[in-house]
Symmetry: C2
Subunit: 327 residues, 2 copies
Amino acid sequence: MIVALAGGVGGAKLAQGLALALPAGDLTVVANTADDFDLYGLRICPDLDTVLYTLAGLADPVQGWGIADDTFHTLGAIARYGREPWFRLGDQDFATHVLRTERLRQGATLTQVIAEFAAALGVQTRLLPMTDDPVATFVDTPEGRLGFQDYFVARRQADDVLGVVFAGADAARLPIGVAAAMAEAELIVICPSNPIVSIGPILAVPGLRQALLAARAPVVAVSPIVGGKALKGPADRMLATLGHEVSAAGVASLYAPDGLVDGLVIDVQDRALATRIESLGMRVLVTPTIMGGAEDRRRLAEETLGFGRTLATENPSAPLAAGEVGA
Amino acid sequence: MIVALAGGVGGAKLAQGLALALPAGDLTVVANTADDFDLYGLRICPDLDTVLYTLAGLADPVQGWGIADDTFHTLGAIARYGREPWFRLGDQDFATHVLRTERLRQGATLTQVIAEFAAALGVQTRLLPMTDDPVATFVDTPEGRLGFQDYFVARRQADDVLGVVFAGADAARLPIGVAAAMAEAELIVICPSNPIVSIGPILAVPGLRQALLAARAPVVAVSPIVGGKALKGPADRMLATLGHEVSAAGVASLYAPDGLVDGLVIDVQDRALATRIESLGMRVLVTPTIMGGAEDRRRLAEETLGFGRTLATENPSAPLAAGEVGA
């Protein structure tokens, strides 16, 4: 069993690669829900849906989110009623939000709803939200505190991020099975998602970080920063304004404390950073990490799995545990 | 001021004709809400929406309900999740149901929501639901009691209707302004909608029938039965299985008790029924009543308005009031 932690597009791509590389049912993906929000009375879960659509083979291959060839007639009609169509929801995508909202109002948990959706779409990977409880990311900017989608979509990530808050995270509970899956996993993969606002909220759910540290399996992260740039989204600018180095080494320094991560996969462009990253206490795999289609995704997944196996072999009798690592 | 009572497609056509024939703002339409139901967690109001779309010039010109040139991508995606797409909701139509459900959950009344929609769509007619309270039509059939949309859409009106129940009607309240509008109206028009399940529920809201009987204005109905057939829907079969004559005279006999209606507009095909209908205590206007496009609708509306004016002139000093009419 492999457990992957994922945000949106980049995480979904590697999750798909892992699903392709592993026997059916051997993968559990835990996705960020702190970007979730309500729009037009519907519950929208951008990262979960991106992973779901990608695993189901429905995702838009160009933009990475939404459904391929989706149309926007519903949103156009919403605009006719005078409502701003600032968040681009496609007609097929609306079906997901409508049915999810119905099921949540009926009392289902998000975990149940996503399991139902995955089953209906033939997805064999176990896809779990990081929590069924409400957690919401806010970013502090020179203009004040902004809701995540206001910052991310409405204001197009134009504001400098000076701080991040995961409201509700302290009281959030891991869904049933997440801690057990991590305890039993052979490898835990942190996908190439934004370490601040995609992986950050997952790690902020009480018990998740402890489960990572206690897991006997190696923890391998894949850097979302390549050549000093985020492959997608504002991770590079966010690292800079939060005072981190904008590089795979900056990502490594975020994951280094407590020995959280045992290995980092970095791109061939960042080969020169390998020694510095290893000095932070983790092993490094250098390989092409920019994923295009399914073949790229599968290859990176296989290399990441192989890297993880090497780490497990190197250190078979000394699994990292919370008590053993320094501050 | 003119007040019209309307169900779905036929009612919407005459309502549009009246809106075209009258100065802007002089028309109030009260629409049936007993067909309303919840689907996928959304509140659907078929008759109100048909009137709204028709008045806004958005309605599908062929089928009469839904939005012209609407597409069905959302419904297709709902089916992908294993849910039966038995009720045909278009992508643009979904916008109406999503936004209505949001506003109702925020605490708005249906009256408020429809007023907001009408304003956004540039509709100058005042469109009101018959009530903001829940009323639901059930039909009794040889197969048992069926919810209205189950009978009407899912089972395609194949069951014999042996009885009709408007659940909740006893406790329903007229929206603010309906009784006053009827008291002040110059004419009240009962549109050519199904007298049993479209006009019937409106008349079942406590106070509505009394307001009709007390109004100083004449009440004119337009027969939805032409040549012994319903122009649309199951009104003809429903009249038959409920023991009524399937003709304009059958419609007249439904509206005759208590002198509810002062005049009936019947089609030229039904000219021979005029004398019998007049013997029931109402005047008759014979004219082509089958409405195609806007010109037909406006002409029938103008003739109905003229007929109403004649009735008012004939009997200016003796308005019908509840106390004056026999059982």
